[in-house]
């Protein structure tokens, strides 16, 4: 189980191989990559800047992973979240969940993403072609997605 913040991009294949290691008990790996979209409400996006709260990020990502381990039979999991200035098409986040069977891998990866989106202290700022920039608003649908797990106890 691991979580880290990175300014640099990640190598998905290398990360997956390192996470699995020699564990032949793993029968399924679910992987999610979040990426920067090139437009916002029809306007072209120039860059997306990610700010975070370093001391809290690490603690929160560890809490999220610990909760995922309680709920699902995960053999291994990984969260990498990028910070700094990103461009359209760049990777933002990588979540990998490994389990003996696919159900736990799929559900584990979805749970990690839903909780990360509502609890991990990251904030996005969009810069548009006209030079204007604005902080992204939190989406109620993200809060709803995370709260469905609350009504589904481990």
């Amino acid at each position: 189980m691991a979580a880290r913040v990175s300014r640099a991009d990640f190598d998905i294949s290398a990360e997956m191989a390192a996470l699995i290691g020699g564990d032949t008990g793993i029968g399924g790996v679910a992987l999610f990559v979040g990426k920067v979209r090139g437009e916002v409400n029809g306007e072209p996006l120039v860059s997306l800047t990610l700010e975070h709260y370093p001391e809290m990020t690490e603690a929160e990502l560890e809490r999220i992973e610990a909760e995922a381990r309680e709920r699902f039979a995960l053999s291994a999991s990984l969260i990498i979240h990028r910070v700094g200035e990103l461009k359209p098409g760049d990777n933002i986040v990588l979540v990998i969940a490994c389990a003996p069977h696919r159900q736990d891998a799929f559900a584990g990866a979805e749970f990690l993403m839903d909780y990360l989106k509502t609890r991990a202290p990251f904030w996005k700022k969009e810069t548009l072609a006209d030079g204007s920039s604005r902080w992204v608003d939190a989406r109620e649908s993200d809060e709803e997605a995370a709260s469905t797990w609350v009504s589904t106890p481990p």
Partner: protein, 92 residues
Amino acid sequence: MTDTKTNAEVTLRYFAWLRERAGRGEERLKLPPDVLTVGDLLRWQAGRGHPFDQAFAKPEAIRVAIDHAHVKPTAAIGAAREIAFFPPVTGG
């Protein structure tokens, strides 16, 4: 309630648009003795004058963490060493 030993300095931190509106990323200060909960602290911030009156005008849009863990407005400040203010998170 003027015993400064029981009213220690605390670090306040600000992130995203709250950092921009507050005009700082962090500060250290002693909170007034009647600020006991997170809700009290949000009201106190809104009453500090410029630029905090603007930054804290909508307390329902602000989230708070004490010592790196999320807390609700009803939470006690207690012996907090670091209190952070930020908008709802938008990572992922």
